[in-house]
């Protein structure tokens, strides 16, 4: 694995044309260094998935460019992208996305074989990774026989098998209980810090902030400074403080996404007092 820097400059992604045109990502720039864990958060429909897809070479930006170690990958022909995805990126998905007909070992080995490794070497490499993930006793199990945490560990082993420089994780803890989610978070951090890989995580999970070097808030296709983001105490949404409805209560200022949340907050507080 070579250390790689991923950089997106002024990228925009638009879907549709004319009256149906939608801008998913608007003039966005980001640079991720080796060994860095970047967490991208934001409300549903903010463009997180579109951004992740573009960074991983699955989608091309409408304008702007994406560079990997200085090489522009956003203009590469479609037939050159599979190789980039296979060797430079490791993908981790919310739903694990393991192939249901293959065992844990085969799921990981298949991706190594795709990169041109001989079958036996691919299987040995996959086996070693899975053992490191604590799955020695699960090598021959089909995905349906694995727990959520085990499936995600197989998916992580699959993401690592071709030794990629960049890991892209989409809601990696969403379908896991809190203990397993915690384990997976620390596994992702270890991948960045011990192996000097760049890890980009898209998630709603607030706990992942603990392992991130940088947290970015994406809303309406643009990054917003996290320092200006505040939590609505009623609905739990992260909201832009400047655009929020605020309330001074008992000497403290509270921020709400809408007046409905503010009113509910007041009712609850008054109920508690009485």
């Amino acid at each position: 694995m070579g250390f790689s820097t991923l950089q997106a400059t002024h990228i925009t992604k638009q879907y549709g044309f004319g009256p149906t045109e939608v801008t998913a990502i608007q003039d966005l720039s980001i640079k991720v260094d080796p060994g860095e864990v970047v967490l991208i958060m934001g409300p549903s429909g903010s463009g997180k998935t579109t951004l992740l897809s573009m960074l991983g070479g699955l989608l091309k930006p409408s304008t702007g460019e994406i560079r990997l170690n200085g090489d522009v990958i956003s203009v590469l022909a479609e037939n050159r992208l599979p190789d980039i995805r296979l060797r430079k990126f490791g993908f981790i998905f919310q739903d694990f996305n393991l192939l249901s007909a293959l065992s844990a070992l085969e799921n990981v080995a298949l991706v190594a074989e795709l990169s041109g490794l001989n079958r036996n070497i691919a299987r040995k490499k996959a086996e070693s990774l899975l053992i490191n993930m604590g799955l020695e006793a699960r090598l021959t199990f089909l995905p349906e026989k694995l727990s959520g945490g085990e499936k995600q560990r197989v998916a992580i082993a699959r993401a690592l098998v071709n030794d990629p420089a960049i890991i892209l994780a989409d809601e990696p803890t969403a379908n896991l209980d809190s203990k397993v989610g915690h384990e997976i978070m620390h596994l992702l951090r270890a991948m960045a810090k011990e192996q000097n890989r760049s890890v980009i995580i898209v998630s709603h999970d607030q706990r992942i902030k603990d392992i991130a070097d940088r947290v970015l808030w994406l809303e309406d296709g643009e990054f917003k400074e996290m320092v200006t983001m505040v939590l609505d105490p009623v609905c739990g949404m992260m909201i832009d403080r400047e655009k929020s409805v605020n309330l001074d209560w008992m000497g403290k200022t509270y921020y709400f996404c809408a007046s409905g949340c503010r009113d509910e907050f007041i009712q609850n507080q008054e109920k508690d007092i009485h």
């Binding site: 998935t49 991983g56 995805r85 996305n97 192939l99 991706v111 795709l114 699959r158």
Partner: protein, 370 residues
């Protein structure tokens, strides 16, 4: 990719069974039909091939027995005997008619044999005489069993009663059989004592039958002389010419059924794994890899389908044989090659639609299970 194809294929065993069963039945339909016609060909040429003759002589222009009529003056027999290289000659009469027992009417080729004929008689006797005397008939064993007659019973041929003197084997097919009577009886009931239908010639051991046939034609003129092998082939050709359209139609139907079954199962199998193919694309698998996986899946299915279909057809042929039906199914190498080629086409065509599906698959849909 073969590993992925095999795993994908065998994971859903019900779908696999339907797919293989459908293809096997469709191919079995083709194979059975071809086998039946090959069996008919074998049966229809059985008399010629087992006659013991090296050369068949017929009226000029007549090159087979089935659906043909040949008439030669009896004197030709003596003329042939004088030709150098001829060891001996048997003149036979031949006409399609019926072997009737009560209400049971069996289509039969009636052969009129001279006394102690060396050629053209029944080649395998189950019971009784091998040469019919005046007033006697040798009929096929299965015809006799079907009609409920045995040695010593009477059957009607040409409207006249004959006593069954012998029962022959391998002389019946699905639709007809051979029955043997004496030439004198044949002449009596059919008339034309000085007329024969075919001459069967045995060449001397040192003589080349092909050359002898040419010599006979050249010396006698106005006759057709063919070696037994050539005569048999021409007989088969008549059957082929009559059945080719039927066989082709049935082959087409079998092919279309097999294709429909296979295309549907490969298509639904691919569709059900659409998201997995999307994952593979996202991870970096090339389209060519995914196409090959789908084609391999289809081809593995049809290969198993061919094997199952062949075994099934072979079993059916053995069961038919065991039941004693006058139906011979002959599974030939040509039929197997034809079915194999059709199966290959089915496999390739059935993968076309799924491949189109995969080619349109956007790898970006892999996120969030979209």
């Amino acid at each position: 990719m073969i590993m992925l194809s095999v795993h994908n294929l065998f994971q859903n065993k019900i779908r696999l069974s339907i797919s293989i069963g459908g293809v096997a039945l469709a191919l079995s339909l083709i194979l059975s039909l071809n086998a039946i016609f090959a069996g008919v060909e074998e049966k229809i040429t059985a008399y010629i091939n087992n006659s013991g003759a090296d050369i068949f002589i017929a009226q000029s222009g007549v090159e087979n027995m089935h659906m043909a009529s040949s008439s030669l003056p009896a004197i030709v027999e003596d003329e042939v005997k004088t030709i150098s290289g001829v060891e001996f000659v048997t003149a036979i009469n031949y006409v399609p008619n019926m072997v009737v027992v009560g209400d049971e009417r069996n289509l039969a080729y009636i052969i009129g044999l001279p006394p102690d004929s060396k050629l053209g008689g029944p080649w395998k006797i189950f019971k009784g005489a091998s040469q019919p005397k005046a007033g006697e008939a040798i009929i096929d064993r299965y015809v006799a069993e079907k009609s409920g007659v045995g040695i010593g019973d009477e059957v009607e041929i040409f409207g006249r009663q004959f006593v069954v003197a012998g029962l022959s084997e391998e002389t019946a097919s699905l639709v007809n059989s051979f029955a043997f009577i004496s030439r004198s009886d044949f002449s009596t009931v059919r008339g034309g004592a000085n007329t024969i239908n075919f001459l069967l010639v045995k060449a001397r051991p040192e003589e080349n039958p092909e050359r002898l046939a040419e010599t006979i034609e050249a010396q006698l003129g106005n006759v057709t002389a063919r070696t037994t092998a050539a005569f048999s082939m021409l007989e088969k050709k008549v059957v082929k010419d009559m059945s080719t359209d039927v066989i082709n139609l049935m082959n087409l139907i079998g092919f279309l059924i097999g294709l429909a079954v296979m295309a549907l199962t490969v298509y639904t199998a691919t569709l059900s794994r659409r998201s997995e193919y999307g994952v593979l694309k996202a991870l970096g698998a090339r389209n060519s890899y995914l196409y090959t996986t789908v084609i391999a899946q289809a081809l593995i299915s049809v290969v198993i389908g061919v094997a199952v279909g062949t075994i099934f057809t072979w079993l059916v042929s053995k069961i038919i044989l065991g039941l004693g039906l006058n139906l011979t199914m002959n599974i030939t190498a040509i039929s197997l090659a034809k079915v194999g080629s059709l199966a290959l086409l089915i496999g390739c065509f059935s993968a076309v639609l799924p491949i189109r599906q995969i080619s349109k698959l956007d790898p970006a849909t892999v996120f969030r299970g979209r």
